[in-house]
């Protein structure tokens, strides 16, 4: 009985670990050989470089706080996608089906963006952003320990194409 409980617990933990990033990994596999899409991957090793640094200013403190708790970032984006709307709908359906909780949707004349999260004990473990415009498509997954306010500040600081959409997390 004890063994069965341990085995079930182990399987539950393992499935949780594997589930993290599963959606974005699926899209990475789908577009791995398609040069029309830019694929970006930042590993936990990169983020770990920021963990033992001493900030000199408040701005640096915010930056280090936001970035040091992250474990990975993956993003796929394309700006001349022929079936962008279809791709956006499919990605939204995949995210919903995988049990992510909707956080926020932003719709404007140019594009739709939807933010969804997966949390554990009140701590956000993964943030997925799906964006789609007339010819644009972007799907981004951030995993680790995520503080939405800090992520928005990070996006404002980094001035990186694609990440800039995360600024919307602190708007409204």
């Amino acid at each position: 009985m004890k063994r069965t409980i341990i085995a079930i617990t182990m399987m539950a933990i393992a499935s949780g670990v594997f589930a993290q990033g599963a959606i974005i990994s699926k899209y990475f596999d789908q577009f791995s050989n398609n040069d029309e899409y830019v694929k970006v991957s930042v590993s936990s090793k990169m983020f770990s470089l920021f963990t033992e640094l001493e900030p000199d200013t408040e701005e640096e403190k915010d930056f280090l706080e936001a970035i040091s708790k992250l474990k990975g970032l993956k993003m796929i984006m394309g700006d001349s996608v022929t079936d962008a709307a279809k791709l956006y709908s499919k990605a939204i359906a995949d995210v919903d089906k995988a049990g992510y909780e909707e956080l926020m949707t932003v719709k404007d004349a140019e594009e739709n963006i939807k933010f969804s999260i997966k949390d554990s004990n009140g701590i956000i473990q993964e943030l997925i952003m799906v964006g789609g415009g007339k010819n644009d498509f972007v799907i981004l997954s951030l995993f680790g320990e995520i503080d939405l306010k800090n992520i928005s500040k990070l996006a404002k600081t980094m001035k990186v194409d694609g990440l800039s959409r995360l600024k919307k997390l602190d708007e409204d």
Binding site: E36, V42, K45, L49, F50, F63, G78
Partner: protein, 173 residues
């Protein structure tokens, strides 16, 4: 007898020095071999020279580079991602204990950075982004916390253009 022992010590020191530096040289070698067929220029920079090319005298940039022991840059004339041997370059560094830090592919762009933590961190990378075709090897500490203020207040192109054009032509003259 004293002279003999002094000479023995010198030889021992020499062996130790070679022993210490040889693995570091070995870790530059796969990148050097990879870049050899497609490189325009080879530029070797240290913290002092990096501070020197900081023409805007930006204090954050200086703090970013102060801990760098060595930065070796190859400017390339063709896409490194298309170069045969790209996969074996990655395999060579993985065998040396380097891990993937960043990768970017698609839309005719590519960037890969592998790193290895240790007494002195080491990073190796190749890129073809926004017209900057480079391969690099870096040893030392980077002041990563300076990145936000650099992105906000510093024109990075000054450094990149200097490496890509001015410094390269100076070295060639």
């Amino acid at each position: 007898m004293k002279i003999e022992s002094r000479q023995t010590m010198k030889i021992l020191y020499l062996f130790c020095a070679i022993g210490v530096s040889a693995p570091l040289m070995a870790q530059e070698k796969p990148l050097k071999d990879f870049a050899e067929g497609i490189r325009d220029r080879k530029i070797c920079l240290y913290a002092s020279t990096l501070r020197m090319i900081n023409l805007e005298k930006n204090a954050d940039f200086n703090q970013l580079v102060n801990g760098i022991d060595k930065l070796l840059i190859y400017t390339l004339h063709s896409d490194p991602g298309e170069r045969s041997g790209y996969q074996s370059l990655i395999s060579s560094y993985q065998e040396e204990g380097f891990d993937e830090y960043v990768s970017l592919t698609g839309d005719s762009k590519m960037l890969m950075i592998y790193g290895k933590e240790g007494n002195k961190d080491q990073f190796v990378g190749v890129s073809n982004v926004e017209g900057y075709r480079l391969a690099f090897y870096l040893k030392g500490e980077i002041g990563w916390q300076k990145i936000p203020s650099l992105l906000q207040n510093f024109n990075n192109n000054v450094i990149f253009d200097f490496i890509q054009n001015d410094l390269s032509s100076e070295l060639n003259d």
